[in-house]
């Protein structure tokens, strides 16, 4: 069966199929449709959807609900991420699983409320004090809005960390015909809980990269939670060994498991000297550009990155192997290009294809910049 839906509907469907039962958010273009769908859909399954007084409160609601055991979603755009920042830091510190949809629009500030952009790529990763990691996935189309939302919930539970879905106004607000059977069914990963009879040491890990099991508020254990540096029992501490152990753990649990998070699509052509790297909406232009270039007789390889953070370095290096130059197409002035530039060899050239005029990058833009016409 085919249906005609937009990215917002696909995200909401993905969230519900992932077991999402709590949503909080605040109206903001172009993310509002997700709020409206959740307000309609969640009460039908005894879930909770609340419009908060602002984004700061929205994220507070989400953290509270996640600690009770809910699978939590919120959705906003750049200016809302700015206000989420404080509480995302809290969620990183408290190791709270939740999923944040960022429907990117042009910044800075109010910027272009109805203008698509990919300007929050570094902001999502580095927008919280301390610089500790989150996970960021980016869908390129409506079908992937569904499947990556489901993956985002699983990764949030697996790593007890906020997971962003980096979408954009065009992907979320444009209707597309999709075949329902094409939705990728991702098994639901349930939350790992401490057994009722076991002692609950909320942040105890044997190795830094381990993720401690949780216990919900109102459950069999006393659960304490703090925004401060804490020891394994969740109590505020200045003890250097405990503080260092915590901070290294927050990084190690992500960085030592990049392979579990990595999701890319490569299309390597033998003998290709050019690699086109892209993500999100822009990937659609990049793939079309590659087809046109090949039709014109140029050997071109492509790399679409779905898991932007942590940077899938091994997958990127593999795709870089053998090419002479790399085209990086993105709707900003080179945010992810920085990550590619630090991975290339000295004899490989990186060329950015960027637009910040509110228009989309076209296949022609990429071909022209890459001299592939």
């Amino acid at each position: 069966m085919r249906e005609f839906i937009d990215g917002a509907e696909a995200i909401v469907r993905g969230a519900l199929d992932a077991g999402c039962d709590f949503f909080a958010g605040y109206p903001i273009t172009p993310a509002t449709p997700i709020l409206l769908h959740m307000v309609r859909e969640l009460p039908k399954i005894d879930g909770v959807a609340i419009q908060a007084e602002d984004e700061i409160a929205s994220m507070g609601f989400c953290i509270g609900a996640a600690m009770t055991g809910c699978r939590v979603l919120t959705a906003t755009s750049g200016p809302g991420i700015s206000l989420y920042s404080e509480n995302i830091g809290l969620a990183i510190m408290g190791e709270v699983p939740l999923v944040i949809i960022n429907v990117q629009r042009m910044g800075p500030s109010t910027g272009g409320a109805t203008t698509t952009a990919q300007g929050d790529i570094q902001f999502m990763r580095w927008g919280m004090s301390g610089g500790y990691p989150v996970i960021v996935l980016s869908p390129t189309n409506v079908l992937e809005c569904y499947s990556l939302t489901r993956r985002a919930f699983n990764l949030a539970e697996r790593f007890r960390v906020p997971v962003f879905l980096a979408t954009d106004k065009e992907t979320v607000a444009t209707r597309t015909t999709v075949n329902i059977s094409a939705y990728e069914q991702v098994p639901v990963r349930e939350r790992t809980l401490t057994a009722a009879e076991a002692e609950f040491i909320p942040y105890h890990v044997a190795q830094p990269d381990e993720v401690p099991p949780m216990s919900p508020y109102g459950g069999p254990h006393v659960v304490r939670f703090t925004s401060s540096s804490h020891n394994e029992r969740g109590y505020l501490t200045k003890n250097p060994a405990d503080v260092e152990g915590l901070n290294r753990h927050l990084v190690a649990k992500i960085d030592e498991h990049v392979d579990e998070i990595t999701l890319v699509m490569t299309d390597i052509q033998p003998g290709a000297e050019t690699l086109i790297v892209s993500y999100g909406l822009t990937a659609r232009a990049a793939l079309e550009a590659a087809e046109l270039a090949r039709a014109a007789g140029h050997a071109v390889s492509t790399l679409v990155i779905y898991s932007l953070w942590p940077v899938p370095e091994a997958a990127i290096r593999a795709a870089l192997d053998g090419v002479r130059r790399v085209l990086v197409a993105e709707l900003n002035l080179g945010q992810y290009r920085r990550e590619i530039e630090r991975l290339v060899r000295d004899d490989q050239q990186v060329i950015g294809v960027h637009r910040v005029d509110g228009q989309l990058i076209s296949p022609h833009d990429i071909l022209q910049k890459g001299e592939l016409l």
């Binding site: 109206p27 409206l36 307000v39 602002d54």
Partner: protein, 262 residues
């Protein structure tokens, strides 16, 4: 031969100097235009246009800085009173006002407006309450009435899920630093004239250094209420005024002589 009769023409209605000569983006039947006009008339009458700075919200009035023929800014969502504070503290001889909607002032910006008043910040706030988020497409506002249907309160606002509509004038009147707090409506000519007098009192309070002043204006949103402009005006009177009674909620002693002067 006919003799020409010279009739002296007298201008009885024209655009206030404080209102820029541009078309606005407001929907037909929206009362933002009336609110803009009476604010501009007051600025003209007080002769302060050239030393006035207006701070606009994020919301339907996001472009107010373009419509008032004064210095202006558009602040981040809810933060107009904070930006106005910075301006006023450095330039106390200037007239500084914010123009904010119900989402901007009563939801995301409620901390800023309350603290502007607690500081007795000598600024004036024009608060447009139309019980809905207009610009983002008709979502529930903090001032949405119980039972009122919006896109984010399908089936009508439920007090158990989203609480009660906030009465900002009453709330602000309880703050010591507030000098003049009033609620007026724009649903008919009499109320518009009354609203204009309140706005004048609010600006006079500022000009006399008496502290924070705010006039809440009950307004329409025919587009998102999904009614005609006439029905919208009638709904303000029949449904909004009973929940949001009109009147002066705080008149500091020093403000009273300013009201008698006219």
């Amino acid at each position: 031969m006919t003799s020409a009769v010279m009739v002296e023409e007298k201008v009885v209605y024209e655009r206030p100097e404080s209102l820029a000569d541009v078309a606005t983006h407001y929907c037909p039947g929206c009362t933002h235009g009336i609110a803009h006009r009476i604010v501009a008339e007051v600025l003209d009458e007080l002769g302060v246009r050239d030393r006035t700075i207006g701070v606009s919200p994020v919301g339907c009035a996001v472009l107010a800085y373009k419509y008032f023929n004064t210095d202006g800014a558009e602040a981040a969502h809810g933060r107009a009173p904070a930006m106005a504070t910075g301006i006023k503290r450095v330039m106390p001889d200037h007239v500084v006002f914010t123009y904010q909607g119900d989402g901007d002032l009563a939801a995301i910006g409620i901390a800023e407006i309350i603290h502007a008043a607690t500081r007795g910040e000598n600024i004036t706030t024009i608060f447009v309450n139309n019980a809905i988020y207009g610009m983002t497409g008709g979502q529930m506002a903090p001032t949405t009435l119980i039972g009122q249907e919006t896109t984010s309160s399908p089936g009508g606002r439920s007090q158990t899920l989203t609480g009660f509509p906030v009465r900002m004038a009453e709330l602000m009147a309880g703050i010591t630093g507030s000098a003049y707090i009033a609620r007026r409506s724009l649903h008919n000519v009499k109320e518009i004239n009354t609203a204009k007098r309140a706005i004048k009192t609010a600006f006079l309070a500022q000009l006399n250094g008496l502290g924070f002043s705010m006039v809440e204006l009950l307004s329409t949103c025919p587009t998102n209420w999904k009614v005609s402009p006439a029905e919208a005006l009638a709904w303000v009177e029949s449904d909004m005024v009973p929940y949001y009674p009109l009147g002066d909620y705080k008149v500091a002693e020093e403000v009273k002589p300013l009201m008698k002067r006219r």
